[in-house]
Symmetry: C2
Subunit: 351 residues, 2 copies
């Protein structure tokens, strides 16, 4: 498996399958783990950092379940590769910032990724399409168990897993759900919902995680606290919250269909019309318009497009993906032209 092969693959987070996939894009569980008796990444010297990389690499090789995984050292990647992996949600911005003794483990299906020497020695991530946190938990729990047979994780009975940042101490678990909430945004209920989420100690972020703004009506909701509850409890709490948000979005969509159908059709079809005809389009506008078209497909207002086409467009219109497809560096202007061309071609036969 080579990194570039991923271009022809739809990331797990954009497959558009799984439960409630008209509202929930993807579910993700992340576990923070550190090796015992080795300083946290920001305190590592070169030798120790190299040792962490080697220990993780060896452990991965010993775990049969992970035998199809790619082990990448970040210095092997150019900036485009890194951006490409960030766009596929397989790596954080933070991890990409420097490549000293940093690693990334990826499986071919893009369900599993493990960052080595990010904020913690290991950041395990499992992604599932749709609303499926427990399935993600089952997979990541198994990987955690298998790896712990070969790695000595820092664990203190009273506190749980030790982590570089105390907010992750305990389970080291963060569950995140990426939601598509166009109706709540359109009906201006979203701020009320986000405020309620914040009060319950959950955080909301944009499409690309920490530090990014919500865009195209996408909101990533995660737990903030990982101490004091076991993993199942944490996940159950997120699940309960997300179910409520899903219900509100569903109900608002139905309300809009009943009471403001023309306004809804107008927004959806205009977005489609612009995407199908533009010659210059930014990444941000593309996300915003695709968000409306996806709503149109989900509400069966637009019938000639499969949801997979929309999802593919979300992915391949991003800057690094465009450049990977064209196999060369492109300026912002060149990307805006190429992006529009790809979208026009893809939507040409849709009426």
């Amino acid at each position: 498996m080579k990194l570039d092969d991923l271009i022809h693959h739809t990331s797990e987070w954009l497959k558009g399958t799984g439960p409630y996939s008209d509202i929930v894009i993807s579910s993700r569980i992340r576990l923070a783990r550190n090796l015992a008796n080795i300083p946290f990444p920001h305190r590592l010297n070169r030798k120790q950092a190299q040792e962490v990389l080697e220990l993780v690499k060896l452990a991965i090789q010993k775990v049969d379940y992970l035998k199809n995984c790619l082990f990448i050292e970040l210095h092997q990647l150019d900036s485009l590769d890194k951006q490409f992996l960030i766009e596929r949600h397989l790596m954080s911005y933070e991890h990409a910032r420097s490549d000293n003794y940093k690693g990334l483990v990826l499986d071919t299906t893009e369900v599993i990724s493990i960052m080595v020497n990010e904020e913690d020695h290991l950041r395990l991530q499992v992604m599932q399409s749709g609303f499926n946190l427990f399935e993600a938990w089952n997979i990541i729990n198994r990987i955690d168990d298998l790896l712990s047979e070969h790695l000595d994780f820092a664990f203190y009975p009273e506190w749980g897993y030790l982590t570089s940042c105390p907010t992750n101490t305990g389970t080291g678990l963060r569950g995140s759900v990426m939601l598509h909430l166009p109706a709540l945004v359109m009906s201006r209920q979203i701020n009320r919902i986000l405020a309620a989420i914040a009060k319950l100690s959950f955080t909301t972020r944009g499409l690309y995680g920490e530090g990014t703004e919500a865009s195209g009506n996408f909101f990533q909701v995660s737990n903030q606290v990982s101490l004091g509850h076991n993993e199942e409890e944490v996940i159950s709490n997120i699940n309960a919250l997300i179910k409520q948000v899903i219900e509100q979005e569903e109900q608002t969509r139905q309300n809009l269909l009943t009471n403001q159908r023309a306004m809804l059709e107008d927004k959806i079809w205009r977005s489609f019309g612009i995407l199908k005809n533009a010659f210059i389009i930014s990444s941000q506008e593309t996300i915003d318009l695709l968000s409306m078209v996806r709503l149109g497909v989900d509400l069966k207002i637009i019938k000639g497009i499969d949801r997979s086409v929309i999802n593919e467009l979300f992915l391949i219109t991003q800057p690094a993906h465009l450049q990977k497809i064209e196999n060369k560096r492109l300026s912002t202007q060149e990307r805006d032209l190429k992006r529009a061309e790809i979208i026009r071609n893809r939507l040409q036969d849709v009426k």
Copy 2:
């Protein structure tokens, strides 16, 4: 001929034929005339106003050239009819404001219209498609001559024709040319051009004449002075000015095609995409978007539409036209829906 028959007819000003019709929508000559020994309209009593109406009606009947004309007394029209005639540029807002002893003479081809008891006793208007002021002049001059055989026009040798407002005294002539100048607007040269036009004692107005803002890149340029020159001189002056504006617009279009083709195609095709897909659209947005689509057709960027389709859409999407077509009163919201539906249907088969 009945008023409603006009719905199935494309007004002269929107035919899209005639010289330079890619830039000049229409040319119009208006003559102000008053009957001798009768006060100007704003000083008329009922009896005198009725007398003017009768005298004009009789004269029209006696002129063979005008035998196919409709003679309408404004009190016969409802507000929708009046709005409809304004939208077709056959009558002014001013004329429609009240209907006491006011008349309108229309020919079946919509080339000729004569308002009776507007600001002057007679306001003769002849419209021609494209850049064709001299042809309009030839026609209106003939009508003026024929009518003066039956009507005694107020004329003072030293000043020329007498008019209610002194700015019209002399020839009583106003020549107007409706220009479509999207390239000059897009390249931000329009303000410089409009300032130059104003300095030369010409005025610029919007689509619907006096008091209306320029919209959809349409500008109506007219002479301000009608005293001190004969008719041919006045028209030659406008002609010379308009030729320069046409050249500048043409050159700017070519510059845009050469240097900013993608930007141009983007604007044009986005406008097309929105028109083809919107479910709610205002009159103003329609004009703005149709303006861009017309540019696309004129520059052969859009090939699947005939200019006549665009022109027809300009006309039938206006408020009174929509209501005439639907044969009922429609609220603003209902019109915005109906307008979008008509446009979608009309553009459905265009790719």
